[in-house]
């Protein structure tokens, strides 16, 4: 039987890492006694059979905080990616499909966001909006769309100039119809690949913002764990178990999504090449 989907090595590595994070999120929903000690030992206890990853500055089990943090990091990652991908896709399709002055205006707007250094602007925005879970999502979403918009615009422009779109106008199709029924499905591959890469970027950005203290302390993420480790003397105590596990989790998760996104992007490119001049 013909295989429908056979992942590359890159995609396999990415999928494995992503599955590992999803498993962590799933475990975090189990009753607490299943995965972490509910007793209250001393602060900064090293890893032991009772507390597999030791305890932090207030005597919380690091494994428990890590698993809870996976929910927050992944949720912010996905939500930030959704916001940025939706904005990027809409701007890209509108600019690429309409062309002319609309394209020029939106293109300049996108370029403006591309040249502005995103991280300092995010820090300013996050500091101005305040420490809230939704503000972090908003900041990431509003500042991380230009790359997606650029790629989608290029693809939409290519499709707009294709013969089959000309034929669609010839049989009486309207612009909105063409965009929804033909352009969107044809840019879907690039949008999905960009979305996966945006999840990775969002997780990293959230970690960065939380690390410098601009995250939501009510919902501690992996970045916030690093922040607490730095500000509450874990480094001085030599409590490596409080910052190494979240650091590894952030790195592997974002790497996993990057590998998956890169694999999807190259798969999509080779597919459009094999189709030939789709547009």
């Amino acid at each position: 039987m013909k295989s429908v989907y056979s992942p590359t090595k890159l995609e396999t590595a990415g999928i494995t890492a992503v599955f590992a994070v999803i498993t962590m999120v799933a475990i975090s929903f189990f009753p607490e006694g299943w995965f972490a000690s509910t007793s209250s030992p001393m602060p900064y206890s090293p890893p032991s059979s009772t507390n597999l990853l030791g305890t932090n500055d207030i005597g919380d089990d690091v494994l428990r905080v890590l698993l809870m943090g996976s929910r927050v990091s992944l949720f912010i990652g996905f939500l930030g990616a959704i916001v940025s991908t939706v904005i990027g896709t809409l701007v890209g399709i509108f600019a690429g499909f309409m062309g002319g002055i609309v394209d020029e205006v939106l293109g300049s707007f996108t370029d403006l966001f591309l040249v502005v250094p995103a991280l300092p602007l995010m820090i300013v925005m996050a500091a101005y909006l305040g420490q809230s879970f939704l503000n972090v999502v908003l900041v990431i979403g509003l500042l991380w769309w230009p790359t997606t918009a650029r790629l989608v615009r290029a693809r939409a422009r290519q499709i707009r100039g294709s013969q089959f779109v000309e034929g669609l106008f010839g049989i009486g199709a309207g612009k909105l119809y063409v965009v929804i029924r033909h352009v969107l499905p044809n840019v879907w591959g690039v949008v999905l690949a960009r979305f996966v890469l945006a999840v990775s970027s969002s997780i990293l950005l959230e970690a960065g913002l939380s690390f410098i203290g601009l995250g939501d302390p009510q919902n501690p993420s992996w970045g916030m764990m690093l922040h607490f480790a730095m500000t509450r003397g874990a480094l001085l105590h030599g409590a490596w178990w409080t910052f190494v596990p979240p650091g590894i989790c952030i790195s592997l998760t974002s790497l996993g999504f990057i590998l998956l996104g890169m694999g999807m992007e190259s798969r999509y490119r080779s597919r459009t090449r094999s189709i030939g001049e789709i547009g």
């Binding site: 294709s162 013969q163 034929g167 010839g170 049989i171 009486g172 499905p185 094999s274 189709i275 001049e277």
Partner: protein
Amino acid sequence: MMRSDLSGHLTEVQPSPGRQTLIECREVKKRFRYATKGSFLAVDGVSLSIKRGELLAVIGESGSGKTTLAKIMAGLIQPTSGRVFFEGKPITSLDRRERLNFSRKVQYIPQYPDLALDPSWYIYDSIAEPLRIHRMSSSREEELKIVRSVSARFGLSLDQLRRKPRDVSGGELQRAVLARSMALNPEVLIADEPTSMLDPSTQARIVRLILDAQRELGFAVLFVTHDLQLARVISDSVCVMLGGKIIEFGSAQEIFSSPLHPYTSSLFSGSTFAGETKDNAACPFYSQCNLRAEICCNSTPPEFNIGRFRGVRCWNLGQPH
């Protein structure tokens, strides 16, 4: 030169009596601007009409403006100047409903079948799409019935309808494109070199299918081609294009038996060549014409009417070449 013998100056192709003019363009010009600098006049003051049930062939070499003219007639691109009329009304002034009616009655078949359909759609859906846009079927069952009927006419099996464009051959794809156009039961079919990308046996089959459908359904055809033999065999009337202008038109029999324009003669004899061109010459054939005179370079020849449906744009009108 027989200027004194000129019987008149045509501004448009005269419709033959008894046949209703469906689509008509008057003094249409199309200038494409280059992305960097300059522009190119692809169609230069063309007037043309297609009557109900007629098969009009537009012939000429590559770059003569045939495709641009076909797309202007189909309403796919806007002319720089001049107007296109459909059933007597300018297409630019059609309201939404009339525009939809125009897009149903005038169908365009592109040159490259492999680019004509959305690669991500099944062929069935591509054929059914115009029916959905024009709400010509009240249910899925009716849609299936129409699609199967029109597909059967063009020899497409249910198995081929279940495939995507990349999974069928060029000939099958062109038949699918034809079936899609025919699903709307058009009154005018504008076929832009529909066979140029196909092998000879498939070409013959596609042409046969178009002719059979035309005989049965009675629609008019504007057939753009550079295949002179094909134009001679299938068409009622012929327009010869050069440099964006129609330089000669008439019935197929007249054009092929006694061409009047030196370019038409050389086209039939296969003696045209990419020679030195004098860009600012009024006649596009000036640099290659054996009969050129001073006036050919300085003054654009008008369309001279000879008989009821015969015209030529040459100062040497009346002299056999």
